[in-house]
């Protein structure tokens, strides 16, 4: 027979209500959430790098300002998410250490390089677009702090997606070199962004439990389909070609059919053999190690100040 606590938890889930930090929850639920939220936080932090790579070279001051603000927002998202995960009892330092050690996962999409300015557009339009499709349902995630963090994040992400679309639009209205740059970026980011939703439903063992717990609301393939359906008219508006010869409208389903994705590549990147895995981790580790003396100084200063205040009071 379930305990009273278990009953109460099951009722919350059944009523599609929020679970809060003070509530009892099953260990599996807690672990799943910590894993998912911290991975998401790590993704925001690592995800700063591909775009930070172009801050110094942004081709107009307006674009430089928008890009700086965006990358900075990503740091902010990382902070919200670490805070949400902390409410589950895992300290931020511990999660961050796991990232730096290379033991924690983050979204594979950020292991692709940003080769041209157009990648700023493609990341906004495709990567942030896929992120939003993934994340909007998470605003209703059963765990309260997570759902609320996602509400805030989704608002900013949709702003980012629109900025990405605008970058591409400007390029597609520009010179031939700019158009070519935009198409090249879309060619490189399209398939990886579709793979952001994770493996096909048949190969995604953890999804069922997450859906039962009202963490996940839609299957990987459902979300992917929704994303493709959204992209096609936007691509037409932009005038870019989506690099999938099998992409066509299916009159029967009312959806766009799309071609096979290269899941071998996905698993290679996931396993650490993507174009930038080593670089991304090394960059973050270097920032962490180079900053150690600064954090130590700040901590020592804070201790001294606290002592002085104690003496004074």
């Amino acid at each position: 027979m379930p305990t009273l606590e278990e009953q109460r938890f099951d009722e919350l889930i059944a009523a599609d209500a929020r679970v809060e930090p003070r509530d009892w929850m099953p260990e599996g639920y807690r672990k799943t959430l910590v894993r998912q939220i911290s991975q998401h936080a790590h993704s925001e932090i690592i995800g700063m790098q591909p775009e930070a790579n172009w801050i110094s070279r942004a081709p107009s001051l307006k674009r430089k300002a928008i890009l700086m603000a965006k990358v900075q927002d990503e740091a902010g998202h990382g902070l919200y998410l670490y805070s949400a995960a902390q409410t589950l009892g895992t300290p931020r330092d511990e999660m961050f250490q796991a990232l730096v050690d290379g033991t924690a996962k983050y979204s594979s999409i950020f292991n692709y390089p940003t080769l041209t300015w157009a990648d700023m557009g493609a990341i906004g339009w495709l990567v942030d677009g896929a992120a939003i499709c993934n994340q909007v349902p998470l605003c209703r995630a059963s765990y309260g702090p997570y759902g609320r963090a996602m509400v805030r994040i989704c608002k900013e992400e949709s702003f980012h997606q629109r900025q990405g679309f605008e970058i591409l639009l400007e390029l597609m209205n520009g010179t031939d070199a700019q158009k070519a740059m935009a198409q090249d970026a879309v060619d490189r980011w399209y398939a990886p962004s579709l793979m952001m939703f994770g493996p096909p439903d048949g190969d995604s063992p953890n999804s069922q439990q997450s859906m039962a717990w009202n963490i996940k609301r839609f299957s990987n393939d459902d979300l992917r389909q929704r994303f493709v359906d959204m992209l096609v008219p936007q691509a037409e508006a932009l005038g870019v070609t989506l690099p999938d010869p099998d992409l066509r409208f299916n009159e029967q389903t009312g959806h766009y059919d799309y071609g096979q994705l290269d899941w071998d590549e996905f698993h290679e990147v996931l396993a650490g053999r993507g174009p930038c895995n080593g670089q991304r981790l090394a960059h973050r580790r270097k920032a962490f190690e180079d900053g150690a003396w600064v954090r130590e100084a700040a901590a020592a200063y804070a201790r001294t100040q606290a002592q002085l205040e104690k003496v004074a009071s």
Binding site: V71, W117, A297, A299, A300
Partner: protein, 245 residues
């Protein structure tokens, strides 16, 4: 007038170069909060740069981007201080200390400029720069009074950066022609020194002399760092002349 435009370039180029430098830290700062804080300061400065360069260009039909991306280093009017490299975090904080404290004094006075546009830009900027000043003064305290290592690094940074501080306070003939419009750089020095002296007394840090380097940024005499900074900043825009973004 051309003189007012030239003066707007002094301030705009300082803000632009400094924003470019601080932008580097985004994704590289010692903690996430600093990624955000330095990013905020960079964004504020970039905002000031855009207002000032737009104003500077208005006299000659040039846009902010014309000025930011299509001038070479001999035409930049930034001080030699802001082009000094990021170095470690202590170098950045020391450079930022000199920049923010002097900018705060400058914009405070420029609010009452006879030039309405400069006065309006200053009135907006001074509020933001007040925060920048707080931020780096606080970090200066942490590094000075934190650990032996942080104090050691701070002192090295001061040796590198402080000689270029004097370039912020050099009067040039231009200033004589802008009585009532520009703020005379040398007039900022006492207020600047008062802040620094107080910080020196509080932390026991001995500041090196502030004007041992030759200076001359306002006349387009720069150190070797600026041209490399501009090479990176301008590369993409220059690759596509006439393009819009």
């Amino acid at each position: 007038t051309a003189d007012v435009a030239e003066y707007a370039l002094w301030l705009g180029d300082d803000a632009l170069v400094l924003a470019q430098q601080l932008g580097w830290w985004i994704s590289r700062a010692p903690e996430l909060e600093e990624d955000i804080a330095l990013g905020n300061i960079a964004l504020d400065l970039l905002g000031h740069a855009r207002s000032l360069l737009s104003y500077a260009g208005s006299a000659s039909g040039r846009t902010e981007d014309d000025l930011a991306y299509w001038r070479g280093e001999r035409d930049f009017r930034s001080s030699q201080l802001v082009e000094q490299p990021n170095g470690d975090y202590a170098h950045t904080i020391v450079r930022q200390l000199a920049a923010a404290v002097s900018m705060y004094e400058l914009y405070s006075r420029l609010q009452s400029s006879g030039d309405a546009t400069l006065a309006a830009i200053a009135a907006k900027a001074v509020k933001e720069v007040a925060y920048h000043r707080e931020h780096c003064v606080e970090w200066f305290r942490r590094l000075a009074l934190g650990t032996d290592e942080s104090r050691r690094r701070l002192e090295i940074a001061l040796d590198h950066v402080w000689p270029y501080v004097g370039d912020l306070f050099r009067d040039e003939p231009l200033i004589d022609r802008l009585e009532g419009i520009a703020v005379r750089p040398s007039s900022l020095r006492p207020a600047f020194d008062a802040v620094i002296d107080a910080l020196a007394a509080e932390t026991g840090i001995v500041f090196p002399a502030a004007d041992t380097a030759r200076g001359g940024g306002r006349r387009g005499w720069h150190t070797e760092y600026l041209s490399l900074l501009l090479a990176e900043m301008q590369v993409l825009a220059r690759e596509h002349p006439g393009a819009t973004w």
